[in-house]
Subunit: 461 residues, 2 copies
């Protein structure tokens, strides 16, 4: 067996014990909150039949799906024609029938359709699993990364939208973030604007241009709107939209005037108002609706997919793209033949949240090491005195280890240091004689005499 210099596959990462503790802090926080809102966990397989995934993400997306080579003599049934022309694209379906999950949405749709007779609607599920994309790796973009999705299907109640705002708010606060914006828009408002102008195909161009107001001013935005196909007459109609100001309620009021003639547009506004009034009923802090949630009509995320409210979340504490998003959709399961099933869901970008928490130094200190105590191994003969101590501590559920051999004290202390074990228990001849142990606090350096019962209470507390 030749010796291979080990390396990671491009765009993938190992996670060390410290990184895992931190990642689990994020995942466990999200799971706890999802469950508190009545969501249950499911998981789907890492790979799906290629036919389940192909055609769901556009041509570009299809190319980024990792295909798995068939097993055995996978070339035996390949047509000579395709092979002879070295046609990579046409050959794929002949040598690959499976592919790695690209997101959690399509597998969830498949799940709902396949298990429609087993699940009770509304079906509230969350899913935290890795996905894979053959993107060019770069800073903050990986080929394997986690998605954390939470969705409810089979309920059109806007209470769900309101609860997703609360889930975002509660999760981000519990992760330690203080200043973030949960942006909300409604696809029907964008449809309403398109109706008024008679230019539905230019909706995305419009939002892109309006979004630049802060940078290029009204004249700049108007110039760009003209370049993107709008007329001078359109600019007049759009002006109050471009200049939309004030808090969310004021923005909605202005929009009501602009969209007065569009039933669809007004419906979108009403939906957001209903969501806000649900949120308020939860007796949340004033800051939630007053500051942390904001109407943003430039939000055009997943326009072909979302049909009602649209969400996007960003932190205002560090420069970072969106750390979450989602919305209401009406035809998730249509691709698998189950029509008219509405749903709404949001997603958390765990890898970006990790980077934010790291930059802001928000990870809890206590969650770094598994062991709370290292028992020093002074002498093989003392092991039979120290092992029952070890057993007693573990019996109480305390994570503790005995250094496995009687190495030099310095080496054992370095080990505790490197693993960030907070306490070291010194059990030498003297301690055996007196039955009083010596405990060293590794952070302060303080040493104290302590009896086993007291130590147990202290470590459990």
């Amino acid at each position: 067996m030749a010796i291979v210099k080990p390396s990671l596959a491009k765009g993938t990462r190992d996670f060390s014990p410290l990184e895992m503790e931190r990642r689990n802090f994020i995942f466990n926080t999200l799971k706890r909150i999802f469950k508190k809102y009545g969501y249950s966990e499911i998981q789907t397989p890492s790979f799906e039949n290629l036919s389940t995934l192909t055609g769901k993400y556009g041509d570009e997306g299809d190319q980024l799906i990792f295909k798995i080579l068939n097993s055995g003599d996978y070339l035996s049934k390949v047509s000579d024609d395709v092979l002879g022309h070295k046609n990579s694209v046409k050959l794929i379906p002949q040598i690959s029938e499976k592919a790695l999950r690209y997101d959690l949405t399509v597998p969830f749709a498949r799940y709902v359709v396949m298990h429609q007779n087993d699940i009770t609607l509304p079906f509230k599920r969350f899913q935290i699993q890795p996905v894979w994309r053959a993107d060019r790796p770069q800073r903050g973009r990986y080929r394997e990364f986690y998605q954390c999705d939470v969705d409810v299907v089979g309920s059109e109640s806007l209470l769900n939208e309101a609860e997703f705002i609360l889930i975002y708010w509660e999760a981000l606060r519990q992760l330690g973030l203080k200043d973030f914006t949960i942006k909300i828009n409604n696809r029907k408002i964008l449809t309403g604007i398109a109706e008024i102008l008679g230019k539905p195909e230019l909706i995305v161009d419009m939002t892109v241009a309006i979004d630049k107001l802060d940078k290029i001013g009204l004249d700049g935005v108007n110039k760009e709107l003209l370049e993107r196909g709008f007329s001078e007459a359109d600019l007049e109609v759009l002006k109050p939209i471009v200049l939309l100001e004030g808090n969310s309620q004021e923005k909605l009021e202005s929009l009501k005037t602009v969209l007065a003639s569009s039933e669809k547009g007004l419906q979108g506004i009403e939906e957001i108002e209903a969501v806000f009034s649900y949120v308020a009923a939860f007796n949340v802090d004033e800051g939630v609706l007053g500051n942390d949630v904001a109407v943003d009509i430039t939000l055009a995320r997943g326009l072909n997919y979302y049909t009602g409210c649209i969400f996007e979340v960003k932190t205002n504490e560090v420069a970072m793209g969106s750390i979450g998003g989602g919305g209401r959709y009406d035809d998730l399961t249509g691709m698998f033949g189950l029509k008219n099933l509405t749903g709404v869901g949001v997603s958390f970008g765990a890898d970006r949240i990790y980077d934010v928490l790291e930059e802001l130094d928000l990870f809890p200190r206590t969650s770094i090491s598994s062991s709370k105590v290292l028992i020093v191994n002074f002498d093989k003969n003392l092991e039979y005195y120290t092992i029952p101590l070890l057993a007693s501590l573990r019996h109480e559920g305390i994570a503790v280890e005995l250094y496995p051999i009687a190495a030099k004290l310095k080496k054992q202390m370095s080990y505790a240091d490197a693993k960030q074990i907070p306490f070291v228990l010194l059990v030498g001849e003297e301690e055996v004689k007196s039955d009083v142990l010596t405990l060293k606090n590794m952070e302060s350096g303080d040493q104290m005499k302590i009896e086993l019962a007291t130590l147990i209470e202290m470590m459990k507390g």
Copy 2:
């Protein structure tokens, strides 16, 4: 977009909310115990460079590795010769450079070598992740399944082996199993027997034959030993080994006589004795060493890999293959150029353990649903009374949901039933007037009047 009838890829599974609760019960039990023994979690990527995996699992194993097709125009640089001959095997390295993880051992070895400057020895890690194998799927055998590995590298102390016995024992008991056997053998004992007979190449044949004693008797075993290449003289030497009886201590004593002339063999016996004496020092129940741990010299698991103690665990409560195994190895990282690093570790077969717990009905009842309470939605006008109740309960960390619309009571009760939500809170006109709520216990069917503060105490308890 054509409508695809959804299906799962062969050999893969979805996990429903109930199945996830049960799987998490297993994983969380294992994690808690691993941490209590000072082990820390790591994760490695789902796919590795093909060169990292190839050649580590034998020819048969190599064929079972799922290869990932290169992205883009993967055929462009393929040699016409290989393509023209439709040589599936030779083409693989030209169109695939990555593959899915086949086990957690090789990626762990790569991890240790790549991070050798960051980790402190002894390095105690656990890893719970899926692995993938292109096996023919059958009952209980999947193409995607989880491995739960716990290993320490860089410590030759037999305290580690003793603690793995305790980890197995504690984990299986906490999962609810009562009758299981943790088999132990030592590679050096097998080497010793081979030394005495001068037939090291027949070690596996020997263990296979001896293992059949219960079924075919001494004559049958001897017949098979002769067929497998042993001589009549060998049979005389092997007789006390074949007929090895009694408890572990008695077996070891008999082996000492047989292996008196083999230094290596005696060393293997001493190692097991040392492990047992460490286990005893933990003040464990008598039943552990007296009954649950058993010397079994037919245990020849991973013979080319393990160098010291070997473990295998089986349950005696249902018919099922081994539910765990492991051992001591001396050259795990040699394949990546880091020599002389000893280690020892064990693995839990989570999927088989799941089947065992299900068959024995050992999964806890309490862990099935996420919500503890469903609040019935009687009327949209009452929502603004019920939502603050919902908020109060969640504020106390209680998982609770409000049915999202005022559907028929029967429908809402069916929903609670299907999700196995234990309590339903009825909040109608009467409750709003009196501020006294009605709580229904879904299991017993009992209804009671209750105030919010009492309800909170009850749900938290």
